[in-house]
Symmetry: C2
Subunit: 255 residues, 2 copies
């Protein structure tokens, strides 16, 4: 009974065309004419749902397409030579991924994308997209803007991981996620996290135990209500202050 109804919302997207896709305002076509959307629609491929754990593309395979999430969630990661993973991003419905592989040295994907839950995606063959971008300046511009946004998102993570305490990172992460949920007309306070504690930890440069402890502590001070991967933001103002480092949760008892 605590399976939130947002799941229904996500699954309601079964359209096979861009022009009547519920994600329209979030996804690629921003200022495109109907006729132009149609052109885009023609190059987009749609697949059957991917099960949890399915690999969309793998580091080292030839790069040929970008992807957008239609429903579900995706994580991307890089592998280090030593075999460890670095989670580079989580992608929600309407978000585009694979952008890091466009100019990759030898035309291979530079990261791996994997479904965090049952997920459907749209496939955007890159050659066709590039060609179409020449015809539709606003499409090309949008692509530029998406890449630029990805850069800013990554720099935001750099900032979190490099200069913020564990508390601040978690608080910021949740607020960013909340904003992205809101943008999709989902509850901004009632989040269902598609990723594991370990994924969050990896992405934020923390140990998974630290993430777990902080969730518990945030719950104890009444900022969150946590039940596994269901998180309710109970006190948004406190969470914002935690993210900004104005509060210290309950850490310092000394001094």
């Amino acid at each position: 009974m605590d399976i939130p109804r947002r799941h229904i919302a996500l699954r309601a997207i079964h359209q096979t065309h861009c022009d009547d896709c519920a994600l329209n305002p979030v996804c690629l076509p921003p200022a495109l004419e109907a006729s132009e959307v149609h052109l885009l629609d023609e190059i987009v491929a749609r697949n059957r749902p991917l099960p949890r754990g399915a690999v969309l593309f793998h580091e080292g395979l030839p790069f040929n397409a970008l992807f957008t999430v239609r429903s579900g969630a995706i994580k991307t990661y890089n592998s280090t030579p030593a075999g460890e993973e670095q989670v580079t991003g989580f992608y929600l419905p309407g978000e585009i991924f694979g952008l890091d592989s466009i100019g990759s040295p030898n035309g291979k994907y530079g990261s791996t994308a994997i479904a965090l839950e049952t997920t459907t995606v749209c496939v955007l063959p890159f050659d066709a997209l590039e060609t179409l971008g020449r015809k539709l300046p606003s499409l090309q511009r949008h692509l530029n803007q998406l890449m630029s946004s990805e850069i800013r998102a990554d720099q935001h993570i750099m900032q979190l991981v490099g200069r913020r305490t564990a508390d601040q990172r978690i608080a910021s992460f949740l607020l960013t996620l909340s904003a992205r949920y809101k943008r999709r007309h989902l509850s901004e306070n009632d989040l269902h996290l598609p990723m594991s504690r370990s994924d969050i930890a990896n992405h934020l440069g923390l140990a998974l135990e630290t993430v777990s402890r902080i969730f518990t502590r945030f719950q104890q001070v009444g900022v969150l209500q946590v039940s596994g991967r269901d998180v309710v933001i109970a006190n948004r103002q406190s969470l914002i202050e935690l993210a900004d480092g104005k509060t210290e949760s309950v850490t310092c008892n000394s001094k």
Copy 2:
């Protein structure tokens, strides 16, 4: 007398046209015809040298151009609401910066760029570049690739800052820098760092004292020779092993 002659090499670039610029192979035009380079050349503006500390663009000012470094070096950073800085990148001759501001929310620069030493840059007005990109597909493609590379570079830093020890971060940072110097036909072992310890620390998510200590320690074990901002890689193999975490420098004496 330890002012290295690479400075002369950098300063030798005084050309006012792309087609005879020494950075040609590193910079924008990759597979462009001579006539096409000329078109690009027409939209590029070049300014007088900027002194150390000069601001090229500032967070919040209207975005209108990208930049490439002709000589000298640039750092970019984001400011947090609380007033702290996060150094997002260092840019050497031939490298392009400002890419993170292309799709910025309200058409403003999302970061600040500042000259680390006497620096000359080329100005690429973005509207003109976008228009030209429509005419020259290979230019547009190159721009896409540059943005994608920036994403990968940022993800590499994420990886360093999130999952590597201080030793590994410094070692990796120096190796990356070395590779970039080499690409510019400068000595790959005899580096002059244009940035302060504090900038390095900030960029890598460390305290400046930590950076200083590690430079000293790397010198003690014979991996580097350090004299202020002049760094000689004395034992590249060891540095690589340090970056990979296969060596522990001199840290663990216990266990």
